[in-house]
Amino acid sequence: MSTTASPMPKVRLRQVTKAFGDHVVLDSVDLDVAAGSVTALIGPSGAGKSTLLRCINLLERPDTGEIVVNGEVLRVQEGITARELAQLRRSVGMVFQSFNLFPHLSVLRNITLPQERILGRSKEEARDRAHALLERVGLSGKAAAFPGRLSGGQQQRIAIARALALDPEVMLFDEPTSALDPELGLEVLAVMRELAADGMTMIVVTHEMQFAQDVSDQLVVMADGRIIESGDPALIMRDPQHERTRQFLSAVRDR
């Protein structure tokens, strides 16, 4: 996969707006994510980070705005067909804070069932892919286990494998380590670092500043439903331009 600049970013959001009743959670948000890059979304809780992330695969439906993924343009006001939604979800993989593995299916079946149903892969093909991915996330021995038997870190790595099995163009991570003990979070972050190194386009809502600084190409700071600052992670962390960014960064560092 090439990481050179393409004319069109992999993900482009324009004027994405969403309100719950009177409360505006996203206020005309614009965002560009280049192919093969990693974007870290940070900011205080309630800033709208997760909502923005969930708008990218339309798990949350914005009130207005334009979402472009992999060149496919979706304008929310014009309505979105089931076909377009299916196409979008094929392009975008997602990893949740609470893992959300299917507890009634074995680890292997968690990874093979979506491949068979959504991509129409044969059982053998799906199984081979699942085993390859399990090896990649360091859990080859757990294919037959049920999710409830695994640690949170293991579950999250399997959730990553499950999403990768569908060959997404973009991966969304919604606070993937927030529900984990620090040492279990590390094994998840290690998998994510590898994925980034392989050139996957990633958008990550996170409180892991070290990860954001080391791995991300673009740091996006949100507050009150807006992007208040974005750009080079090292630069923003060293010299934040916005007062809210300064407050947030010092609060995180003091932890």
């Binding site: 798990l59 299916a86 979800r89 609470s98 959300n100 593995l101 959504i118």
Partner: protein, 212 residues
């Protein structure tokens, strides 16, 4: 001893009515619960009303209505059919509520993960949500099944020759009525006890497979 054997004759019919009406209920409850969760308000309101109606009227009243009240052309329910249909509809209404609660108990994250992966609505429900909900519903459903086994005795009022009907007949023609009823109690316990065991075994089995 004669009384005991006479009462035992009712066992197959009791089991037949209870099993048939449970099966009808378990199947009919599926479209009912889908309608109860429908986005179409009219459908939801109608089925909600239907379920409340079914549950709000005593079983014995439904059986009288079905047995004496329904005649379409030359069609009339015989007593066994009336009992099966009546108990089956009430079971459907009750099990629809059990299913509904079970579906609601499945975490939102399961729907979200399934949607994010790209499963269709039908696949999400049939492959991800329903199998999990079924395990949740199982203990309540089997408890209801045991209750239904006993409630099938109400069919005696429309002349179905099940356990209680035969017990009453024996009690009338016999010096010791109480003895006959105690025999009936023992027979019911003998029938429901294995069901209780089965229910607990199934529950433990599913729990083991799912939870750490």
């Amino acid at each position: 001893m004669d009384g005991f054997l006479a009462i035992l004759v009712g066992v197959p019919l009791t089991l037949y009515i209870a099993a048939s009406s449970f099966l009808i209920g378990a199947v009919v409850a599926v479209p009912l619960v889908l309608a109860l969760r429908s986005k179409v308000t009219v459908l939801r309101v109608i089925v909600r009303g239907l379920v409340d109606l079914l549950r709000g009227v005593p079983i014995v009243v439904w059986l009288f209505i079905l047995y004496y009240g329904i005649s379409i052309g030359t069609f009339r329910f015989d007593s066994v059919s009336a009992a099966i249909v009546g108990l089956g509809l009430i079971a459907a209404a009750y099990l629809a509520e059990v299913y509904r609660g079970a579906i609601l108990s499945i975490p939102e994250g399961q729907w979200e993960a399934s949607n994010a992966l790209g499963f269709s609505r039908v696949s999400t429900f049939s492959l991800i949500i329903a199998p999990q909900a079924l395990r949740v519903a199982l203990p309540s459903a089997t408890t209801f099944g045991i209750a239904l086994l006993k409630d099938s005795s109400i069919a005696s009022v429309i002349g179905v020759t099940e356990i209680v009907f035969l017990t009453q007949a024996e009690a009338r023609s016999n010096q010791s009525g109480l003895e006959m009823y105690i025999i009936a109690a023992v027979v019911y316990i003998a029938l429901s006890f294995p069901l209780g065991l089965l229910s607990r075994w199934l529950d433990a089995r599913f729990r083991k497979a799912v939870v750490a």
